[in-house]
């Protein structure tokens, strides 16, 4: 085979993937960008050009959605990391019933998102909810609180549910990571006289760094794009205080048919996620992958 024919054969082999990517990824991306330059709706379309972006950045909803998305993502991802790591350390110890507990702990994660959302809505219900019931029984509150309809608590209430829902994934990842830490490192550190804390800090954590980075990055991206929990629990309310990019874009595009405006938000959402994707690509290519 000549060099040229090899070259052609190579491209022929990747052609199907390129065609699929073009149809399923690049076309929607380009079309969304073009829509974002207009105020397209079902009944009328006006081309606005860059004016559309000027309007978008003046839109106070953009800053609100951005702020909500960042608070939501940072809290959920961070606490999933802490909770996941903590529970993994516990489940890594030998004790009776460990296998059972390892099975139970993944339950929130395998539960369908919509079901989780409905259950948490009930838990937070001001009159019927378990949360208010127990808080009152313990004397912590004297009247029923409306967790999901108070602007100052709604976002944190859904964040709490999201942490509960997602942390088992982190647990599983870190548990696998813990089992991969070479035991001889622990033995060596013990001989050197390191205590529990020092062993965790200087042996466990450094060995698990790659897996923590990857898991954290994944949970960041997933959380940023997580839709059904918020949508079912609050629908973005009250006063748009729990809307994040995906829920707001959905409302704009498919409830109000404002495709132009929705595309603008989607482009910003895309750019933000692109940053995380680039970090991921960089990490995975550096030093021969994610180790």
């Amino acid at each position: 085979m000549t060099k040229e024919r090899e070259w052609i054969a190579g491209y022929l082999f990747i052609l199907p993937s390129i065609v699929l990517l073009a149809i399923l990824v690049f076309y929607p991306l380009i079309i969304t960008f073009l829509y974002s330059l207009s105020d397209m709706s079902l009944t009328s379309t006006r081309y606005l050009g860059w004016m559309a972006y000027q309007r978008l950045f003046q839109n106070k909803m953009l800053s609100l959605i951005f702020k909500n998305s960042v608070i939501w993502t940072v809290f959920v991802a961070l606490f999933q990391l802490l909770l996941g790591l903590g529970s993994a350390l516990v489940l890594n110890k030998a004790f009776i019933g460990r296998s059972l507990l390892r099975g139970i702990v993944i339950l929130p994660w395998v539960m369908p998102g919509v079901v989780t959302a409905m259950v948490w809505r009930l838990i937070y219900d001001p009159q019927l909810g378990l949360l208010n019931h127990y808080l009152k029984a313990l004397g912590i509150i004297d009247h029923y609180l409306t967790w999901l309809s108070t602007p100052s608590t709604a976002l944190y209430a859904v964040i709490f549910s999201a942490i509960w829902k997602g942390f088992p994934f982190s647990t599983l990842m870190y548990l696998a990571g813990l089992q991969g830490v070479p035991p001889e490192l622990y033995e060596a550190s013990e001989i050197d006289g390191a205590g529990d804390w020092n062993r965790f800090l200087h042996v466990t954590l450094p060995s698990m760094r790659p897996i923590i980075t990857t898991t954290l990055l994944f949970t960041f991206i997933w959380t940023f794009n997580y839709f059904e929990l918020i949508y079912v629990m609050t629908g973005g309310g009250p006063s748009e205080k729990t809307h994040i990019f995906p829920t707001y874009i959905y409302d704009l595009a498919f409830k109000r048919f404002r495709f132009g405006n929705a595309s603008g938000f989607a482009v910003v959402d895309f750019l933000f996620l692109l940053i995380f994707s680039l970090i991921y690509v960089r990490l995975s290519t550096k030093r021969g992958g994610l180790e």
Binding site: L42, T43, R46, Y144, S149, G237, P238, E240, R256
Partner: protein, 420 residues
């Protein structure tokens, strides 16, 4: 054998020709309606349709029904794609959007020649809801009014009040509600929900107080005026006689609290009567007028559905015949699940199918329609956000309404400047 084959061919060709000729004469109308669950109503619709086909043997009618939650999406998408039905019902608040987009045609010429479709035969609030820039784009089919004051007589007796004398004014409503409120029971339940229903309540309060959402030609928002501000002050005060959580409750959630016997009073439309009877057969209940300010008038907000003809309909004259028939007194009364928009049909419907027909009829005749603006859903959303901000205390009433007014004015200017 050969002859037999020839004969068969001739027969087939002849049959095809006859059916093609006959088919060319027969017109089919595609009609989209809302899905109804009531078996009696469906039977009445079938009967009425059969009679129409007897009257007009050359017109065939095909019904397609959708549940409310999907209905608007389906209609808008079909119309935007150029494949709408010939006729459909549209919610009053969608009518301007469909008119402005040119999806539906003005019906003034048909009305001018019609014997039965006349303005005076319909509730004026319903008729006017179909007007857009001076032309009529729909014929009212059925109507409803937000809201009437449903009340549980037991709550009145327990509070030492006369159950035959429901509160008339805002102050009375609040005072009565306060006497009813106790552990696990409340005077009333508010709700904000997710759709555009809560605006019907807040608009009705503003209307009753002599105010309005927009000015007369729908170009300027008036929600920052005293009439609207005072009505929202009253609305917020009702939080004291209401179970917490109204911002995330829907009208249905609150309605369930009423039928579960937790509320003394509840604002809802007349179409809720069957639901109360079905869910709370033991409850002694009655209906009073929507409360009014001391020196105001009890004005409700109109809701309901209009019948429209689409621009793409190939047989508009046949479509008009169907609309004339379907909205006539005799038929309208039978095929409508809400109160018929035809006034005579409504009287008879209310007397036969509703309790307290006089109260309902009076409330209907005094009702006003919501702003006529093609981007009404966006306007309603701004109003709902203001209501949420007021109820949660995020903004004080004046500030919330001032912000909403500014936002609505921007929306109006934006629309009118790009659609002249």
């Amino acid at each position: 054998m050969k002859n037999g084959l020839l004969f068969t061919i001739i027969l087939v060709v002849a049959t095809l020709t006859i059916s093609l000729v006959a088919g060319a004469e027969k017109v089919t109308l595609n009609v989209w309606l809302m899905k109804q669950a009531d078996v009696n109503l469906l039977k009445a619709q079938d009967e009425a349709l059969a009679k129409f086909k007897e009257l007009y043997p050359d017109i065939d009618v095909k019904f397609t029904v959708f549940p409310y939650s999907e209905y608007r999406d389906k209609l808008l998408i079909a119309a935007a794609a150029g494949a709408p039905p010939d006729i459909s019902v549209v919610d009053q608040i969608w009518n301007p959007e469909f008119s402005a987009a040119g999806f539906v045609i003005p019906l003034d010429d048909y009305v001018a020649q019609s014997k039965s479709v006349k303005k005076e035969n319909y509730f004026s609030g319903a008729w006017d809801s179909a007007l857009y820039q001076g032309k009529l784009y729909g014929v009212p089919f059925d109507v409803g009014v937000w809201a009437l004051n449903y009340y549980n007589k037991a709550f009145f007796k327990d509070a030492g009040l006369d159950p035959e004398k429901p509160p008339v004014t805002w102050d009375e409503f609040y005072e009565v509600g306060k006497k009813m409120t106790g552990p696990e029971k409340w005077g009333t339940a508010l709700w904000v929900g997710k759709g555009d229903a809560v605006q019907c309540i807040t608009d009705a309060l503003t209307f009753s107080n002599g105010g309005s959402v927009l000015n007369q030609d729908f170009t300027k928002c008036l929600l920052d005026q005293p009439a609207a501000i005072d009505s929202m002050k009253f609305f917020k005060k009702l939080q004291e006689i209401n179970p917490a959580g109204e911002v995330s409750r829907t009208e249905e959630d609150s309605f369930q609290l009423f039928t579960a016997g937790k509320l003394g009073m509840f604002w809802y439309g007349e179409w809720g009567q069957d639901t109360v009877t079905a869910r709370a057969p033991q409850m002694e209940w009655a209906i009073g007028n929507f409360p009014k300010p001391a020196n105001g008038k009890s004005v409700g907000t109109f809701g309901g559905w209009n019948m429209v003809i689409y621009k793409n309909a190939p047989h508009k004259d046949a479509a008009w015949k169907f609309i004339e028939y379907w909205t006539s007194k005799e038929i309208n009364e039978k095929v409508s699940s809400l109160t018929p928009a035809n006034v005579e049909a409504a009287k008879s419907f209310l007397n036969n199918k509703r309790k307290f027909p006089d109260v309902v009829f009076q409330q209907l005749t005094q009702a006003l329609y919501r702003p006529i603006f093609p981007r009404y859903p966006d306007l309603a959303e701004i109003q709902r956000n203001a209501t949420t901000a007021i109820l949660t205390g995020e903004k004080d009433i004046e500030a919330a309404l001032k912000d909403a007014t500014a936002e609505i004015n921007t929306l109006l200017n934006d629309y009118y400047s790009s659609n002249k």
